[in-house]
């Protein structure tokens, strides 16, 4: 790269493969649907600026990349650093990652590593001072050394493989405390009651805003579409948390009005879909988009790019640093429904509860090819749902757009069968 002979052709960023990939997705998200909420403009614009135009989102101070939802962001904020979720959804970076990753690894990990190995990455969040890599699935565990090999400073946040035992809880609490120590040596700042409380308040407010949005999705007919909600939660990965919260609160205010006006974001009879499994991450919003293009509406989700990331809130008994840190640790472990844990009845219970309380007609289960844990858990989830009379569509896919046609057929057939099922019941 630095050799004097090498000449890079200055391709305008917006003509690059990744920019066009993002642009195509954004165009679909905005143009294929009428009456997008006015408050969504903030998010559409944010993604256009960040992904299509390559505008910088660089922050002041220490930047900490995270590769999973398990890294407690409150600790990072408390010490004056900024977290950036690195999980990537770009097919472009998936291809880059495929150059050095096993063919059977999952798109998400490939894309994330592909991005980390590239220069001028998008979204432009600036040089990372540290990458926190929670030891979740095998692929992410092994990614740690690869990231270090690319010259990143990586910290392995040790997560237990089971979550239900008390040992696991204690082990994890210790991991989180050590992580706080690590952040302290990185930032030179001390974790205090005051700065942690402020950080928790900020995250708490963001979560409260998310929950309000989440609750709007109970309404039937829907007042907001799932593709927009996924875009919003995806923005949380890299956006300024306060600006993000305000934008969501603004949207919530708009939804109150929409609801009063009797507005419908989707047809009254549109099958209501609960989305679960591998996370839709921009620009790979392929599946939720297909569902809603085909006349369904995603009313709830159980994924780590949305609900699982923002839903569960922290309660603290005594507002002392230690107690707050332990409470945070609990929040990041106990309610997590990631299939990496040995026993995961919680996920099934959660899905059943969401299906019930959001009046769901069917469940769409996405598994990235190569994500063994999601692939393996598919059976038990389908069985549990079918037992309750809820149909589930299992889709194994990756970031490549080449199966869109086939997926459309499957999704449409699924929605058609849900509709006829509904008609029969009525």
């Amino acid at each position: 790269m630095n050799s004097p002979n090498a000449k890079t052709v200055a391709l305008p960023y917006n003509r690059s493969r990744q920019a066009r990939e993002a642009e195509t997705m954004l165009d679909h998200l905005t143009d294929d649907f009428d009456d997008n909420p006015a408050a969504m403009a903030y998010f559409y614009d944010l993604f256009r600026r960040a992904y299509c135009k390559g505008e910088s989102l660089e922050r002041e101070g220490v930047r900490v990349g995270t590769t999973c939802i398990h890294a407690p962001e409150e600790l990072i904020y408390a010490m004056g650093a900024t977290p950036v979720r690195l999980c990537n959804g770009s097919y472009h970076y998936d291809q880059v990652g495929a150059d050095f990753m096993p063919a059977k690894s999952c798109s998400l990990v490939k894309a994330t590593l592909g991005m980390l190995s590239s220069e001028n990455v998008i979204p432009k969040v600036g040089k990372l001072d540290l990458i926190v890599n929670p030891t979740t699935c095998d692929q992410k565990k092994k990614a740690s050394a690869m990231m270090a090999g690319m010259g990143h400073q990586v910290y392995d946040l040790e997560l237990p493989p089971a979550k239900e035992s008390e040992q696991a809880r204690v082990y994890w609490q210790r991991s989180v405390r050590e992580f706080a120590q690590q952040l302290r040596s990185l930032t030179g700042k001390k974790l205090t009651r005051k700065n942690l409380m402020a950080a928790m308040a900020r995250t708490g407010r963001a979560q409260a805003a998310f929950r309000t949005l989440h609750n709007f999705r109970r309404k039937s007919p829907s007042v907001v579409l799932g593709k927009d909600v996924f875009l919003i939660t995806n923005a949380y990965f890299f956006d300024d948390i306060e600006r993000w919260t305000e934008a969501v609160e603004k949207l919530n205010a708009e939804l109150v009005q929409r609801d009063k006006d009797g507005f419908c974001a989707a047809q009254k009879k549109a099958p209501r879909i609960l989305f679960t499994g591998s996370p839709p991450i921009f620009p790979n919003l392929k599946l939720p988009l297909l569902v809603e293009q085909s006349g369904g509406v995603v009313v709830a989700d159980e994924t780590c790019s949305a609900n699982r990331m923002l839903y569960d809130m922290t309660a603290v008994d005594e507002w002392l640093v230690n107690d707050m840190v332990d409470s945070l640790a609990d929040k990041y472990l106990k309610p997590c429904t990631c299939p990496i844990f040995t026993n995961n009845d919680d996920r099934i219970r959660r899905l059943l509860e969401l299906a019930k309380s959001f009046a769901v007609d069917g469940v769409v289960y996405q598994a990235f090819a190569g994500c063994q844990v999601y692939e393996m858990e598919q059976r038990s989830v389908a069985e549990a749902l079918n037992k309750e009379g809820i149909a589930m569509l299992y889709i194994e896919t990756d970031y490549s757009p080449d199966d869109m046609g086939q997926l459309t057929t499957r999704i449409e057939a699924f929605l058609e069968s849900l509709k006829s099922r509904k008609r029969k019941r009525a």
């Binding site: 090819a369 149909a391 194994e396 896919t397 080449d402 199966d403 046609g405 086939q406 459309t408 057929t409 499957r410 449409e412 057939a413 699924f414 058609e416 069968s417 006829s420 099922r421 029969k424």
Partner: protein, 271 residues
């Protein structure tokens, strides 16, 4: 006279079915898809109408299905081929005493569909992405062995030895495996039987995923291949119901749906 058309625009063939008010098939037509889906689909429809001497305006309702359904804007409606297939098989299966499980092998995908006693899809499964176990696989095999697609069935039953095992599930790898077997002096017959069993195994696994109930209906172009039918029956351990025109079941389903949609609309207008 009112007619209703179903147009199944698949990846390899375009199938048209025309039904009358009584729900009986008036005629079917199959032609190759080529690369110009839209143009060829229009032609296929016109060809059938000309052949039958039916005026275009008498076709009251047209439903498109299949891979290219979205491109055919002249259709009154479109529906996924899974639902259309289910309706078609349900209607056609009545003559066989009713069917509940459908196996469909198309040009680029294979499906298993389970329907309930009213013809609604209750579960379905589809191959993921790759062409293994689809019509394309047979295509490639026939080409590699340098024989006609239609001959595959005959070769299947003429083998002297046991069917060979084709391990590769991938179409591309299977091709080289076939060449390897030929080079080792194996007969085409045994190889072809092996291919059929390989496809049958995958298809039956798919069917087991949705649950096998009652009579099993087998359609799609490859259902014309008697050897494949035999292999699937063998793997499945039960008889298959194979219709007379297995290729057009889906188009027939779309036409039947067009008919009932039209009836429903008429009913509404009258009321």
């Amino acid at each position: 006279m009112n007619y209703f058309a179903g147009l199944d625009i698949g990846s390899t063939a375009i199938k048209v079915a025309l039904v009358g008010e009584d729900g009986k098939i008036v005629g079917v037509h199959v032609s190759s898809s080529g690369s110009l889906f839209h143009k060829n689909a229009k032609e296929a429809l016109q060809n059938l109408l000309t052949k039958l001497g039916v005026d275009k305006d008498d076709v009251r309702y047209l439903i498109a299905t299949g891979y290219g359904r979205k491109l055919f804007k002249e259709a009154d409606d479109s529906i996924s081929e899974i639902t259309a297939n289910a309706i078609g098989a349900f209607e056609a299966g009545k003559a066989f005493g009713g069917v509940r499980t459908i196996i469909n092998i198309g040009g680029q995908d294979s499906k298993a569909i389970q329907i309930d006693d009213t013809g609604n899809v209750s579960n379905f499964a589809m191959n993921d992405k790759c062409a293994a176990g689809t019509g394309r696989f047979l295509d490639v095999a026939a080409r590699t062995l340098d024989i006609d697609l239609e001959e595959l069935g005959d070769y299947h039953f003429n083998g002297k030895g046991a069917p060979l095992t084709i391990n590769s599930t991938c179409t591309v790898f299977a091709e080289s495996e076939i060449i390897g077997l030929l080079a080792n002096g194996h007969g085409k017959e045994e190889i072809i039987a092996g291919i059929h069993y390989s496809i049958a195994k995958r298809t039956v696994r798919l069917a087991k995923r949705v649950g096998i109930e009652d009579r099993v209906y087998f359609d799609g172009g490859p259902a014309l291949n008697k050897g494949l039918v035999a292999a699937i029956q063998d793997e499945l351990g039960r008889e298959l119901v194979v219709p007379e025109y297995p290729q057009t079941t889906t188009a027939f389903g779309a036409a039947m749906l067009a008919r009932s949609e039209f009836m429903a609309e008429q009913g509404l207008e009258k009321a």
